[in-house]
Symmetry: C2
């Protein structure tokens, strides 16, 4: 039995090779849309828009299917799947990209199945802003659109990016990207400048130091859920944003309070995600564990 898509997510799908100070994992499932859809799937019926090559393992596809992610928007193109490899420095504060092979991702043109076009929630994950715009143009007046981006597009496609941002409800980027985009070191000033582009909300991610949500008349500060250790921070931002959009879609709301609660849930999902590589931890996760951690999170952050 199929039912309608509540949340459409577009982004990259990659086969990653990741080395941390303690472990190396080769050819594991990654990519922004994989992390984001997995996180959203705990809360709402989510459709994935992305591309893989003919070499993409069926076992990886099965992981998504088991999480009840709709794959009608997933294209398979002749050729190899996008590959990325990177190494984390000691302490995992920084990482270095060792190689990037775009493969089928190079000529990706996202096409939304008819069933995805009416989804009230849309998350434009980090791909070229012209493609994000192309996705947005295929949709039928979504209620809430979140857009993510990266330093590359700020550097080489700022006009396209600015154009698509102004059509979105919320922009998310990390601290250094907000500073790069605006030239302001102060996040408060950077956020103000970004709000002037059009979105109602700007969500700045600070990794292990949490995140900040800005709007014209409100501000929300959220910590990262504290972990004693973690295995791999890859995809944490996508997991956070995907969980946020999933929880927001499940609430059926778009107001500031609903967004706060969605952020709390997104952050908690992300904290589980980094405990293991790839989707290994999210595959074992259930709603009870999420809600327990949300309760603990509220308790340790209560002023």
């Amino acid at each position: 039995m199929s039912h309608s898509i509540d949340l459409t997510i577009v982004g990259s799908i990659g086969i990653d090779t990741i080395e941390t100070p303690t472990e190396k994992r080769e050819e594991i499932l990654g990519g922004s849309v994989s992390y984001a859809c997995a996180a959203a799937s705990f809360f709402t019926h989510t459709g994935m828009v992305g591309v893989v090559g003919t070499d993409f393992p069926q076992t990886y596809r099965d992981i998504w299917t088991q999480m009840n992610i709709d794959l009608e928007g997933l294209q398979t193109q002749t050729g190899k799947t996008f590959r990325w490899s990177g190494v984390y420095e000691a302490n995992m504060d920084n990482r270095q990209t060792l190689s990037t092979e775009l493969n089928v991702f190079e000529n990706f043109t996202p096409n939304l199945p008819e069933t995805y076009r009416d989804a009230p929630y849309l998350f434009l994950g980090n791909i070229h802003p012209a493609l994000q715009l192309h996705v947005l143009e295929q949709t039928h007046n979504p209620r809430f659109v979140l857009i993510d981006t990266m330093d590359l597009w700020i550097n080489i496609a700022k006009d396209d990016l600015t154009q698509v941002i102004q059509k979105c409800d919320m922009l998310t980027l990390n601290e250094s990207e907000a500073q790069l985009f605006t030239g302001h070191h102060s996040l408060m000033q950077a956020a103000k400048t970004l709000l002037e582009l059009g979105p109602d909300y700007v969500l700045i991610k600070k990794g292990g130091n949490g995140s900040m949500l800005y709007s014209r008349d409100d501000l929300f500060l959220l910590h990262a859920y504290p972990l004693e250790t973690f295995a791999d921070p890859t995809g944490a931002g996508d997991t956070f944003a995907g969980g946020l959009m999933g929880a927001l879609a499940a609430s059926g709301k778009t107001d500031a309070e609903a967004i706060r609660q969605a952020m709390v849930h997104g952050s908690v999902i992300a904290s589980f995600g980094v405990e293991k590589f790839s989707l290994d931890r999210l595959q074992q996760l259930d709603r009870d564990q999420i809600e327990q951690r949300v309760q603990h999170f509220r308790n340790i952050c209560r002023l």
Copy 2:
């Protein structure tokens, strides 16, 4: 009319010359005990233990007196007052010390007036751990003792420091000092190790990223109150800790909930403090402004 001292604070008194990317101020009032006592003075009757030289300006002494800080524990020694000068790098994330002249601070032996020895709350600000121990030994069984330190003492006097820490209720240090002391990059792991030294609470300061309070069975995460701009971060940690101890002393309690609320107030005072150089902003501050900001802080951090 004098009344008894609720909180004794010991630390350094300096005449500072500070350069930020936008402004340079020469020979301004500084030092850990000056910032900490000023912050505490909003909440409780505070006694200052420190040393100045015969060159110390009467106008600076008047600032403390106007804030109702008790100065019976303030020594004046023949010679010049401790001087420090530093310059902040662009963005004020880092600073460089240009010069340090210990002057009368070099032979400082803190002596507590009789009226200070019964104070139920004691804040051992950042001085040599042997002197902190000397202060502690002069007191009559205080209810709650907070100790601060710095990388220098961790590097050259770790045994002395360890000895005094085990006699205190709470240890505060910043992120890099906690990592230096324990060898753990993870703050959760560093805090666990530091708790094993004896204190019931470890408070790790993360500058603009807030602070974390650890105890054996609880954890509290606190943001820094967000500011669009600030003038000078010098003394922010001392202001935070002094405000915390002042608010805790005013509550008459020492439990985890009282400490949380004291931290919130300390953080708010620190956020005011950095808006201007030296004590310039704190001199103009009143309790209404503090409580208003506390309310706003609670609101923007509510999960």
